[in-house]
Amino acid sequence: MTIARRTLLATPPALLLSRVGRAAEPMAIGFVYTSPVGEAGWTFQHELGRRAVDKQYGGAVKTSYVENVSEGADSERVIRKLAADGNHLIFTTSFGFMNPTIKVAAAFPKTLFEHATGYKRADNVATYSARFYEGRYLAGVVAGHISKSKVLGYVAAFPIPEVLQGINAFTLALRQVQPDAVVKVVFTSSWFDPGKERAAADTLIAQGADFLTHHTDSTAVVQAGEEKGVPTIGYNSDLSRFGPKTCMTSVTMDWTEYYVGRVKLALDNAWKPTDTWGGIKAGMVKMAPLSDAVPTAAASDMQAKQADFMAGKLLPFTGPIKDQTGKERVPAGSSLADKDVLAMNWFVEGVQGKA
């Protein structure tokens, strides 16, 4: 009796009536976003994946998303609501959702969870991320051919491993083209504050940077470059429309194949709690089309390295690699193991900044 009443209260009267006489239920899939979807940026790329799932499976699935979910105590409630509301597969798209996802997964063993950029799994929790640093490596190649002042600027949000991997890969590739170039890093302490990113970009340019890139969620850095005639490389999405003359390319992530694949596994009851960390070869990291302003040498160098990635031949963190203090971190002939890449908390030689 109480259960019936609770269900009655939980379901607005209009919806109740529509539940009567439904045929095979489409699988409900939920997405939890940490920021607004917008038209570019981290969440937008995940949203593209969601839309691809919708398009691919039509009536067999019913997707929904919740945006702007704060990473504190609220996220657990939202994730739990999605599970309690009958979502069979839930994607939580930010590191800060890791522990809430694990907690909710324990309470809902039949529901499947996919957590992005985390490291905790369970019987019903898979993790996934992309080797963004491979794209950063290619970005470094392009930048190396273009920068003349040998000073490059990097506006980053927080010194977490994913960001440091990117900065390091960028610098390593850059210094293969220009061995004495320097990358100056400035942290804005915010994933999203266009004004601060702008101020940081202005500062870097004032200190002689003639090439900028960023690991933040807004388009401010690319716009700063466009305004001042400084070439840039964007991040997350193709930001060329914000810098038609100066944005050389962007390091983007493509979750569509991964999402479509995982949903298929869930539909076929073949889902397993895996850990996926795909890069360029897996199609999870893609470079936006190169601008016409990119010199041919840069383009062909980048394309060659891209082919190496596709063939699985290129490992950016192959020694010898020294860190900022001169200490050797990766000896010659060996490559940094995945778990060390995951926990990266140091900068390579040539980076000026504090990790």
């Binding site: 939920g30 929904s64 702007n68 105590a73 609220d74 657990e76 609501k81 800060g96 927080f158 990266m344």
Partner: protein, 361 residues
């Protein structure tokens, strides 16, 4: 013809209780209009917003959980405001309470024992106290206005938390992510009702209501505080020190905010992370005023605000209404509440244009 407000000789008890009802009714209408504009069925949306979140035990517990930090911070802020002390920095005191309590958890959590948790809670209160003591000192000794100092210190506290979870207190097994290790069970607030997240913090919040009431109305310190706030000249004539009121107001609100902070990290979050509050300290200011600065009113207001947050989430989940709409609805509700409250102290009169000149007999 125009409307004129006439002050009532004494506050209308009728409107005191009815104005919130009127405001809620008006906002429901306005919200319905907004939902219709956004293309969703207004009735369904309103139902989802205010009824569905409370439809089960978990939902009710979440209401309590969400209302707890609001209630604690708001009671403290109200006490301070009564002394004409504007504590805009409850968010920062919340953060410092979390840091202090979290520090104890990280230091002693492994040792276990029943004494860890009380020590953490005390540390949390102390953390908030200390962070509020700084603006109190700056105001009483250096005349620095607390609106500025409390607000600036909020940002400083957030950066300090960021520094700690990224640097010295980082979980060594955490792959260099900015977070501390998860607290051991001895350092966690257990749920009061199994299957929910409602914890001891809610009890503290509920206790804070009568305690603040007693403080304000039955103690000499509270009396002095209120007089200083209402009539500073009379207060100084009576020998009530303004500095004393400033200290009391800030310390009480700092301590309560710090308690809210440690309860949040020892409860639902279970560790220290860069983001521990979605803005409780600021929302609590509104709760304090919605509750008309009285502890009992604040209890009701905090539940209402918490419901609005939960409802907004529900609207997003079920109808995909953007969170922005929740903000608009919250704002409108507040406007109506604040507007309707005018009827408590003032009477609305229609003044005719053709008023005959008063006859001089």
């Amino acid at each position: 013809m125009r409307l004129k407000l006439e002050r009532r000789p004494e506050a209308s008890r009728f409107w005191f209780y009815l104005s919130p009802v009127l405001a809620v009714a008006l906002s429901a209408l306005a919200a319905a209009g907004l939902f219709a504009l956004l293309g969703v069925a207004p009735g369904q949306a309103l139902w989802l917003m205010v009824v569905t979140p409370l439809a089960n035990v978990y939902g009710l517990a979440e209401l309590g959980l969400k209302a707890t930090p609001l209630l604690l911070c708001a009671v403290g802020i109200a006490v301070a405001v009564r002394a004409n002390v504007w504590n805009i920095g409850a968010e920062g005191q919340f953060t410092m309470g979390a840091i202090a309590g979290g520090g104890i958890a990280l230091l002693f959590g492994e040792d276990g024992g029943a004494w860890v948790l009380p020590l953490m809670l005390l540390a949390g209160v102390a953390g908030g106290l200390v962070w509020a003591a700084i603006p109190a000192l700056l105001r009483t000794r250096c005349n620095a206005h607390e609106i500025l100092t409390t607000l600036m210190l909020t940002y400083v506290a957030t950066q300090l938390l960021g520094y700690l979870v990224h640097g010295p207190w980082q979980d060594p097994e955490g792959y260099s992510f900015p977070q501390t290790k998860q607290f051991d069970s001895a350092a966690l607030l257990a749920p009061l009702i199994p299957g929910t997240r409602l914890n001891l913090g809610a009890v503290f919040a509920l206790l804070a209501v009568p305690c603040a009431s007693v403080l304000l109305r039955q103690t000499l310190a509270g009396y002095r505080l209120r007089v200083v706030g209402l009539a500073p000249a009379a207060a100084s004539y009576a020998g009530f020190s303004q500095a004393g009121a400033v200290w009391l107001g800030l310390l009480v609100s700092g301590g309560l905010a710090g308690l809210a902070g440690v309860c949040e990290v020892a409860g639902p979050i279970g560790q220290l992370t860069p983001v521990i509050s979605p803005g409780y300290g600021f929302a609590a200011i509104i709760v304090a005023f919605l509750g008309r600065l009285s502890p009992a009113g604040i209890l009701a207001a905090s539940l209402l605000m918490a419901l609005l947050y939960l409802g907004g989430e529900q609207l997003q989940i079920t109808l995909q209404i953007p969170t922005a709409a929740t903000g608009v609805v919250q704002g409108m509700l507040l406007f109506f509440l604040l507007a309707a409250d005018v009827l408590v102290g003032f009477r609305v009169r229609l003044i005719g244009r053709s008023v005959a000149a008063p006859a001089h007999a």
